[in-house]
Amino acid sequence: MPYIPHTPDEQQAMLATIGVPDMAALFADIPPELRPKSFDLPQGQSEMSVLSHMEELAARNSTDLTSFLGAGFYDHYNPAAIKALASRGEFFTAYTPYQPEASQGTLQAIFEYQTSICRLLDMEYSNASLYDGGTAIYEAIMMAVRKTRKRTKILVSQGVNPIYRTMLDSYTTNLNLELITVPHNQGQTDVAALMDHLDEDIAAIIVQNPNFFGSANDFTQLFEQARKNGVVSILSVYPVMQSVLKTPGEMGADIAVAEGQSLGLPLSFGGPYLGIMTCTKPLIRQMPGRIVGKTTDVDGKTGYVLTLQAREQHIRRHKATSNICSNQSLCAVCSLMYLALLGPEGLKRTAELSIQQAHYAAERLTSIPGVSLYNKTPFTNEFVLSLPCEASKVINALVDKKFIPGFPLGRYYEGMDNMLLVACTEKTSNQDIGILAELMGGVL
C-alpha cells in the first residue's frame, strides 16, 4: 500500500464531510497543555541530501571490527539465500495473518517454523514467536504464575543472562511477584543452592544453558526436583548449541525459551530479534501469542489456521493471556530458512566449529602470563578469562586496533571487573585468534 499524504484541499474536504471547520476544532477535545508545543522538525530536504546525511551518520559507527563479543548475541554466518528469500513480497509484509483464507503461505511458513523449533529443542509445542529472548522469559514466568495460581516467588539463577534479568526486574516491578536471585558459584550455575530453595511458594525456576559464562549444564535432576515440588521449570537456551547439547526436552524442562538471533538473523545493532518459546502439553493453554495449527477442510485438503485463539489479544483484549500484540513472523521465517538451509548436520557442524575455535582461543589466550581460564567445567563457544587488570582497560586498548576482545563482566557482576567473557563462532579464524593473543599480550 503506497503512503500518500493528503493535500490541504483534501484535508478541507475531509473536515467538511465530518462537519468540523478546521484542524484546531478537530483536536479541541485534547487539552491545550497536552498538545505538542512544536514538532521541532527541520525543513524538508531532497532525497540526495538526506541520503548523504544518513551516510555521514552511519560512517561514525565502527563496522570493520573483529569481534569476540557474545553475551547472548552471536555473529554466525548467515547464508545469502536468507536475505534474498526473506525479501520476497510474500514474506516481507507487516500484515498479521488472522484470516486463513488469505494467508495460507504465511501460516504454513510459521507452522514449519514451529515444527523446526520443537524438533531442535525437543519440546511438544512452540508458539509463532515473541519479540525477543528476554520477553520470552517474562512470558514464561507469567505462564508459570497462572498455572501454579497462588504462588508468587520466582527463582532465578544468576547464570541467566543479566540483560534478561534486568528485563524481568523491570517487567515485574508493579506485579505481586518476588524474584529470588540465586548467586552463581564461580561461574557455575549453583544447582545445589537452587534445589535448596525449591518449595511450595515457588512458581517457577529459571536457568540457562549454556549459562552466561559459557558453561554447559545438565539440569535433569533440578527439573525433576522442581516437578516434585510443583514448580514450573524454565530453561533459556542458545539455539545453535542445542544441536550438540542435551536438549530442554531431554532434561525435562516445562518451558524452553531462547533468543533466536543466532538462527539466521544479523546482529544489526540489537534487533529486530526473535523470541523463541516452547512448552509441554500441560502448559499449552497458558502459552501467549499465536500458534498455527494444521488441519483439514471440508474437502479433506490440508489447511493452516491460527489456533487456540480464545486467549489471544485480538479476541480477549483486557483479559488476554499476554499484552504481546504481534509476533516476529519475518524473523521467525528467517530462522526457518536458516535451519532448512543448514539442516541438522550443518547446524551441528556450526556448533562444533564454534566450540572448537573457542577452545583454541582459550588455549592461546591463557598462555599469556597472568591470564587464566575462569571456567572449571566444560564450556561451549564462550568462556571467561581472568585478567591481571580490569577487562575494560584491555577492551579500550584493543578497540583502537579494531579488535573487540570480549564483554567485561564487571558491568553486571560485582567483583568481576577483571573478568572478560570471550565468544567465538564458526566465523572466527585461527588468524583472528592469533592476532588477538598477540595484541592482548602486548597490553598486559
Partner: protein
Amino acid sequence: MIPDNLLYTKSHEWAKIQGEEAVIGITQFAQEQLGDLTFVELPEAGQTISAGEEMGTVESVKAASEIYAPISGEVVEVNSELEDAPEKVNEDPYGQGWLIKIKIAEVPENLLSPSQYEAHIAEEAH
C-alpha cells in the same frame, strides 16, 4: 429451562446443595453465550475455593471466560470426563456437564433464586 432446585450467580454459575456438599456448574444461558466449548480448566481435588473468586476457565472457539466459585469450600471431586469431552457442558449443563463437587464451608447470602436468575438473564439479554 431454569431448574428450580438450584441456586445461581450473576456470573452464570449454578450450585446444587446436597447436605454438606454442593455440585457446581455453569448455566444453560452461559453455555449458549459461549458457543461450542473446546476446553474446560478446573481446580484440582483438595484445593480450596472461595465464593466470588475465579475457580477455572471455560474456553470456546471464540472466547475464554473465567468461572467464579458460587460457594466456598474444598473441592472433593472434579468432572474428569470434561477433559476429553468439554461438549458435555453444551449438551447437558445441569447434568453430565457438571464441573466440580465441593465440601461446603460457606454459602454466601447473595446467591440468586431461580426466579431472580430468570429476571437477571432477561435483563442481560436486553
